[in-house]
Amino acid sequence: MTVRTREELPRILKEAFYIARTGRPGPVVVDVPKVIQQALGPDEYPKEVNIRGYKPNESVHMGQIKKAVSMLKKAKRPLFLIGGGVNISGANAEMKELAERTGVPVITTIMGKGAIPTSHELYMGNIGIHGSYAANHAVAECDVLFSIGTRFNDRITGKIEEFAKDAKIIHIDVDAASISKNIVVDIPIVADAKLAIEKLLDEVPKLEIQAWTEQVRGWKKEHPITMENYEGLTPEKIIRYINEHFERPIITTDVGQNQLWATQYIELEGNRQFLTSGGLGTMGYGFPAAIGAKLGNPDTPVIAISGDGGMQMNIQELATAVTLELPLILVVLNNGYLGNVRQWQELFYGKRYSSTCLRYRRSCERRCQDSREACPPYTPDFVKLAESYDAYGIRISKPEELKEAFDYALSHKNAPTIIECLIEPEANVFPMVPTGNTLGDMILG
């Protein structure tokens, strides 16, 4: 909204915060022209908001809840698909209760990760193009897909005609426009996730579906996600180190392979420990998000996991973090490439690397396809870069150095530390469902 007169400024600000925090929350742009910024006026801030075109849904249609429960009761192979809506509405405890009460296995989108603890015996992993074998196969095989707070975007559906094609689909979402947009659903329920789950808890029984749950759990056990076939310092080892040595840290990620690995390996317990840009996928998100997280949670360790590409997209924020004396741990997974694009170029474009190698020079041989010893040095030097901002930096290349690096970072109480991790340049994120394939049709790596 553009503020056009000084008189409407308080009302517009009040409305902006109201819209940003209710319904499906999200940013609101308020454009305050310079003349309004300088104009004098009263500081009265309205107490009430009444926007006639904006009435967020605050109830649940019980008829639809009952229909959903009755469909769930008849299911032989039910599955919960949980999106970011559950985390946003803070329904984590209720969701865990719902899963335990019914015994239905749970899979999540990457925005939904952490909806129930990742260590929970009913949690089967992420769905989607880099989701787990168990989660993707469970969607293909389930007969009732009970989805809450997800948009069914193309990262999770794979070939849309084949998505959950044997299943009846129930969909709870606070945004009516997200329902039956990409996937036509059988039972739509427009409601806040927390409210709807609370109502469900009054109605659901324990389901007799042990065989199915065991089957999904079996897939999870037989096909775990791992980078064991790569040697040395792998993202898996770095993230597992964080899992083992930090109690409930806040993790932010950038966008790209660093994010995908983080969503695969991070363990989460409780709401809002994991901040990642899943919708628009904006590179450069991770580091500024960590600054915000630390300002809001000064006593919680905050770790940003970035790639060497994304880290440089908002590198100027190092000055902000230094100014604000924030002890952030900035883990940079440096493979010398814009890795996710490079992975696509490798797998789907005959390894014709274009504008993804960050060691490239104009004088390089054309169509070079390897990273070799003879390649020009990588830029920037992240350790020197950190030091130039009066922050700290350390570079590691072996798993044994993880402890030293994290201890070094933790020893700084009022400045950020970059831990630059030199990882295998051409490591890929697997498993992967190539675009247009059905979810079950995965490259396992």
Partner: protein, 170 residues
């Protein structure tokens, strides 16, 4: 719900503010929903404008259009005019040029036969006003085009529609 394309009308109550028209048309364009017509004007309440949007669209996409419009903060109310009795009219001007006496007489005859109004003319030109439904106006344009090929100029305003009381044209 089918994928077959149908003509539909939506009536929208929106905030009467700068930028609202751009927002609504931008929303439809951004989602590649093709509007046939859009009219907008202030209502009896000067803080509210009313839009009539005509679309040729399938059921599933139409549901999306309504939901997307509904979630827009500047939209106060969305009314689907597809299934309810309404009145709808469109203003159309047809100007016929290069007329001899015989042509002019023919224009007047057509106007009389179809209930159009001749609102202006001179020696060689006649201006006709049609207030009919969009499809009847299409018929009029076709008729004038056939009768006076390459000699007509038209401008039309897009449909406006309102719920019916005791009779309708739906």
């Amino acid at each position: 719900m089918g994928m077959e394309m149908k003509k539909r009308y939506i009536s929208l109550y929106v905030e009467n503010r700068i930028g609202v028209l751009a927002k609504i048309s931008g929303l439809l364009a951004g989602k590649s929903y093709n509007m046939d017509t859009l009219t907008v004007g202030e209502t009896e309440d000067p803080t509210v404008s009313r839009m009539t949007i005509g679309l040729t669209i399938d059921d599933i996409t139409f549901e999306q259009v309504k939901k997307q419009l509904n979630r827009c903060v500047v939209v106060i109310k969305v009314m689907d005019f597809s299934e309810i009795p309404i009145h709808k009219k469109e203003l159309l001007f047809i100007k016929v040029s290069g007329c001899g006496e015989k042509d002019k007489a023919e224009v007047f005859r057509i106007a009389q036969a179809f209930g159009l109004e001749v609102i202006d003319y001179d020696k060689r030109r006649v201006l006709v006003q049609c207030v009919k439904t969009e499809s009847a106006n299409n018929d009029m344009i076709r008729l004038f085009n056939q009768t006076f090929p390459s000699r007509i100029e038209t401008v039309r305003g897009g449909s406006v529609a309102i719920e019916a009381i005791s009779t309708s044209e739906q």
